[in-house]
Symmetry: D2
Subunit: 284 residues, 4 copies
């Protein structure tokens, strides 16, 4: 069944859900799936509605136009789109390939629900692996001296690829603050620790030194503050005293792959809504 | 904020959510929390709405009366009630007290969201523990010969306690089929295995013999078919080869307590909706 | 540090560990890692010792010869081998590739600790994916009529590949009982349910129908009794009412991949010891 | 079967396990359970052995005397004791009773494996609950002015109770540094976050603000550095955007109770060995 997705967040007020569902009903739309959440302390309302497109009496473009004045009145952050217009994702990688391999396989199997438009790396290592999947691979080396120029080129690649989402799949470069700001809410990172534990470099080494009994990975949106952005998903796994740092690296890879894959899938399905530094995730 | 709870399930049709939210909006009700689920294969619709009572322009009784014809038309199974009218729960126990102790503590701490109206046991062991909490304790011994008479007495206790929910908290007697039927959807059991594994007696012994690496507990509604009723919640925990049957008993107790406590809490908050042998659980 | 692995199980008796560690000390061996377990009800003793090879005053072959009379006296099932002599694994697949892709990636990353000697399939689908990794791919189609002949050919491939372990990575054929017996303890399967729940076909469909709240996967050795063999590892994941059968298939894939990968890694490192229908797993 | 427990850690050297197991075999001791771990980076050896007491040809006191010169030579930190000489535990509580109730129940059920010698609180709230279990209750109020004097009194209670272990079961006072030092490795705390996340006050509030998707609890030994001591056990549980701070408090209680109960059980069974800021935990 073709689906039209409405995603919306706005200041809370009485009768919001009634108003929006009435609007959809007026246009003949049958609701397949509805999520709603009111953040009472923040006074904010969040919803995601999956509308059965064939039941609509208007086109999706017309529905969007008709909804626009309603949304303005609600001061809403919103989108209406066909689920079939899949989001375009650009992956950024360095020399660790486990997240890349995992995302490529999930993408091919159809479970990611997005298109992978390109892969960008500061190394050549994965060119063959990417190109054999029919995906464009761009090598943009980054040095401290060339960083600004390099990210200019990277950003151009993102734009030319028509990227809706950038995924740092263990990309070992810090994205400049101005790029983070321009792509706010559209750059996703996987950090190899259970944030806010072990912000920064070498989290597995530090986890070992601290002697934690559970390790984890965190999928979050990137902001100019390193590892401080809104968390989308976390995955954890139990470890014991006999696990070396190398064991943690190995075991942690599974957490990283799962947390990142879920984050990409949920973002691509308009299931992640942002408000300040917190996310509302209507999981599936 | 005082809350009025609407719980409803009915055959799916276009515009259901719009219709119900419009009804609530017409009566001035602000929605605090809305859950909705459509079981597409079954063609069934489920919802739970938490309405802010003070915003209603009518009393809860009037709201219920006004909704009645709507619900009839929708062929709905439904209820509207004040959250503050807490459900009354009767606990059934035998000689294992870990679930009883746990539920008593959670009840006293306020997290169960229900009243414990009475405890019934086929043994005297826990009389003191129950009565010191100010809860009536009834001893009804059950033998094969006396079973019918015993359960007549038990059922009378349930009725006199005004029970909305019966919880078999490791109660070692099989409830007669006719009692199960009369109290359908209102008797909850905790089975000490991960159903459908190890239906019946001695599940930990059999789990050990089978050499499973994870054990679990299942909270489910009781039906005349032993351990076959609709599952509300399951909890699992990893075990290893060095765990003896006694270890499994000990470790499993934590799973039992958690799965049962969540089941009771969710049922008491109208978060569990039944359809055939499956449950819809709007978790919190 | 090069390691020599001793794996042993035998009837329990007094002083076993002292005797074996004394034997190793007499030959100069420093112990890097020692696991021991006594199954008291069964009266059986299990151990795995990682010996630092360079500290040995004799060659590994001489150590093995010297240990042979000791082992005979203990009526032990045992092996002594260099860790660097990696086990040779043959993967069996049909049309679902998620376990295959996962095992290939883990193998290439070095985390499996074994060699993949060949892949056999009853379909051609994955020939390219396998051959581009430099691994021989054998297509052996299986029909009811040809089954005996097909498995004769399959078994010959296993022998020619020098296989130590056969991994059914979602291989959709039942291995004939005589083959199971000849390769007892050396054929590993991943079953897509939490055994003993949902033995047999379509476990995700049946899990959905039963309304379970947790699904899982089971890695076990294959015996002539379908899905009844000794369990090596299980992995579980929570699901909810809104997950369709297709969602369970998708979510379950992650459990399958993890449980199978751990099973292969542990078997390949001599960490799995069999006794009757139970396994002792000295996890890492 | 009566058991004698040997717990030992010392600098690593060749033949340690052989030497110790030979010592036990010479005295006729049959080993029921042996754990060993070598921390290669630290060059440290850890072992725990459960010896079947009736098989010993000497008394436990004689065994201890005989082992003393061996241990001196190995520069070992060690103990030999009868399992039946249960450790004596003093619980410290304030106004939150969930850990206290849980520990009392587990103690009564026998699963803690220790004696609860006394409960100390800076409030009177739990006097009745404790005394009805037949356990001495001491009220020692603590103010900033009286802190030193109060902890003098507390320490005297510990000494008079013959305490082997002090458990801060949500005790809301910071133990003075000199007391921490005198009781090093013998004071256990439960912190209501997944350390090192949210060290210090109000961890659930801060977890909510950070928008984490998993919360946890940490059982650790107390050192003068707040929340920085060696971690014994951690437990985690998934949360979602709809969980308020109050929900986190409620959900987290289950993690706290489980992590703390395991920590106490393992310490009381000599299963926790300390080295620097890391623990070796031979779990059961």
């Amino acid at each position: 069944m073709p689906i039209t997705l409405l995603k919306l967040s706005c200041p809370d007020r009485v009768g919001l859900l009634a108003r929006i569902t009435a609007f959809i009903a007026e246009h003949g739309g049958n609701l397949d799936e509805v999520h709603q959440f009111t953040d009472a302390p923040a006074g904010w309302f969040f919803t995601r509605m999956a509308i059965e497109t064939p039941t609509l009496r208007v086109s999706v473009d017309e529905l969007r136009r008709a909804f626009s004045p309603v949304a303005n009145e609600l001061e809403a952050d919103w989108s209406i789109r066909r689920e079939s217009e899949r989001q375009r994702v650009v992956l950024m990688v360095s020399k660790l390939g486990h997240c890349l391999v995992d995302l490529l396989w999930r993408w091919r199997s159809g479970e990611l629900g997005c298109d992978i438009a390109a892969v960008v790396s500061n190394h050549e290592d994965f060119r063959h692996m990417v190109e054999r999947e029919g995906i464009p691979f761009h090598h943009v080396s980054v040095s401290n001296a060339s960083k600004a120029a390099a990210f200019e080129r990277v950003e151009r690649i993102w734009q030319e690829a028509g990227a809706d989402l950038i995924v740092l799949a263990r990309y070992m470069q810090i994205v400049p603050a101005d790029v983070c700001s321009r792509w706010s809410g559209r750059i996703m990172n996987i950090h190899h620790s259970f944030l806010p534990s072990f912000v920064g470099a070498n989290p597995y080494q530090r986890a070992w030194e601290r002697g934690v009994k559970v390790i984890g990975a965190t999928c979050h949106y990137v902001t100019p503050d390193l590892d401080e952005g809104p968390i989308i998903e976390q995955e954890v796994i139990r470890v014991e005293h006999f696990h070396s740092v190398e064991d943690l690296l190995r075991i942690g890879r599974d957490s990283e792959r799962q947390a990142l894959a879920r984050g990409v899938r949920w973002h691509a399905a308009d299931r992640v809504l942002l408000h300040g530094n917190r996310t509302v995730v209507f999981r599936d």
